[in-house]
Amino acid sequence: MVHIEVDRDRCEGHGLCEQTGPEIYRLDDDGELELLVAEVPAELLAEAEAGARVCPVAALRVLS
């Protein structure tokens, strides 16, 4: 079971995760990050990890 942990104190809404992993990450109109999946399916794991890596403020972790 793989899921994503968002550090809300760090997230500043840069939106790079959304550009890199649009099937996992979405910024709402207020710039708040929404996760589109509660658990990351195997076929989206690479996208989830790439989205976490591009976060410029280290707010995302992919945990299994």
């Binding site: 840069h14 550009q19 992993g21 710039g31 989205g51 410029p56 403020v57």
Partner: protein
């Protein structure tokens, strides 16, 4: 036409492969940084100055402001410190003061704000490109690299359009002296005096809800008022941080696209590749080559002892070229590099990550989109040869001559 490495044999054997105070090292750093990563990931080019070269070490240090302070950090030599400055810019603050100021400044650079401002930036690009003719030879740094980022930052600040060229005249001169800016140089005095006047004028008027200056002088319900000197300093900081760097991104990117013109042709055929090209340029040619931190307590990095008060040179460029993170082809410029294959260091990382990064990306994308659409036959001038700009922290060619 390619960039030839300028290596001396001593580099391969020395334990100080990269000296951030040597403009030759900064201008053509690839081989020296490769040696640093491979043989000496924490090197000491000068007493008390340590260069950190590996991707993971650079990112770890950037994430640890308690151990590596930003206070008094901007220049490496000639004495540093904020004593000469009338207020402390955000880049030289640690938490908690940093956190408060960042929360305040970042509201103007949020993606939602940028989406709204995109037509404005596009108009700035269009106005500049409208002055150019197909077949004409231009020098990209002067004709595009300086102008588009400057006007974009001025628009965001809320500087009246009629004053843009005058302000840029001062700011260009100040930018050319970075990071060794003297607060006594006439152009610095003129620029800061102009901004201070604008701050005072804006403060006397009702809030317009538009522009950084207007926002800084009309604090929100939870915000402390800033003194005019502080507001002026933050405006100055945004101008100096957002222009030279973004202009460098533009010239570095265009050089890579045109020196192997198949890349340019790919973008002409498929402009949807442009954002990827911007990311690859940021990685391959970091405009700001390194940032500085001061060690707050004795410690070791990769077994290398570092003492309290020592200075760290975190090589953003080297982090971006680390083969262990980016793969064996990390040194190549590739339009096919998968997004997110490693973490980009060019805008920093963590609490000080560049506030204007989304704006820089937007400007570069819109400018290249405009060039691709209007001047598909763009190519390097026949006698062009790449020479590094004589800068101590920023990397770009001194000039880039192209034919539209």
């Amino acid at each position: 036409m390619s960039k030839e490495p300028m290596m001396n044999s001593d580099v391969l054997h020395g334990d100080r492969p990269y000296d951030p105070l040597d403009p030759g090292h900064v201008g053509v750093p690839e081989e020296r940084l490769a040696v640093a990563r491979e043989r000496c990931p924490v090197s000491q080019p000068r007493p008390g100055v340590f260069v950190v070269a590996r991707h993971d070490d650079v990112l770890a240090a950037l994430q640890d402001p308690g151990s590596y302070s930003s206070e008094n950090n901007f220049v490496l030599d000639g004495g540093t410190g904020t004593a000469g400055l009338p207020a402390t810019p955000i880049t030289m603050l640690d938490p908690p003061a940093h956190t408060v100021l960042r929360t305040r400044l970042r509201q103007w650079f949020a993606p939602a704000v940028l989406r709204k401002e995109e037509p404005r930036v596009r108009q700035i690009v269009t106005d500049v490109l409208d002055t150019l003719q197909a077949g004409e030879q231009i020098e990209v740094w002067t004709d595009l690299g300086r102008v588009v980022p400057a006007r974009t930052v001025y628009a965001f600040l809320g500087i009246p359009e009629a004053d843009w060229d005058t302000v840029q005249g001062w700011a260009d001169v100040v930018n050319d002296q970075l990071p060794q800016v003297s607060v006594e140089m006439p152009e610095f005095v003129s620029l800061s005096g102009y901004l201070a006047q604008l701050v005072v004028t804006s403060a006397a008027e009702p809030a317009r809800g538009a522009g950084v200056i207007d926002g800084l002088v009309h604090p929100g319900p939870d915000e402390e008022p800033l003194s005019p000197v502080e507001a002026t300093m933050h405006c100055m900081q945004l101008i100096l941080a957002g222009t030279d760097t973004t202009g460098s991104l533009v010239v570095n990117l265009l050089y890579e696209l045109l020196s192997d013109r198949a890349r340019w042709e790919r973008l002409v055929a498929d402009p949807s590749l442009i954002p990827q090209a911007v990311e690859e340029s940021l990685r391959h040619d970091a405009p700001l080559q390194y940032v500085l931190r001061t060690v707050t307590a004795d410690r070791e990095i990769r077994g290398c002892p570092i003492g309290s008060g020592d200075r760290l040179v975190l090589s953003l460029q080297s982090a971006n070229l680390d083969e262990q993170d980016w793969g064996a082809d990390a040194g190549d410029f590739s339009l096919d590099r998968a997004p997110g294959s490693a973490t980009l260091a060019s805008f920093g990382y963590g609490i000080h990550t560049c506030l204007g990064a989304p704006l820089a990306r937007l400007e570069a994308r819109l400018l290249i989109e405009g060039l691709v659409a209007r001047f598909p036959s763009l190519h390097l001038a026949p006698d062009y040869s790449w020479e590094p700009a004589p800068r101590s922290m920023v990397r770009r060619p001194a000039r880039l001559d192209v034919i539209l």
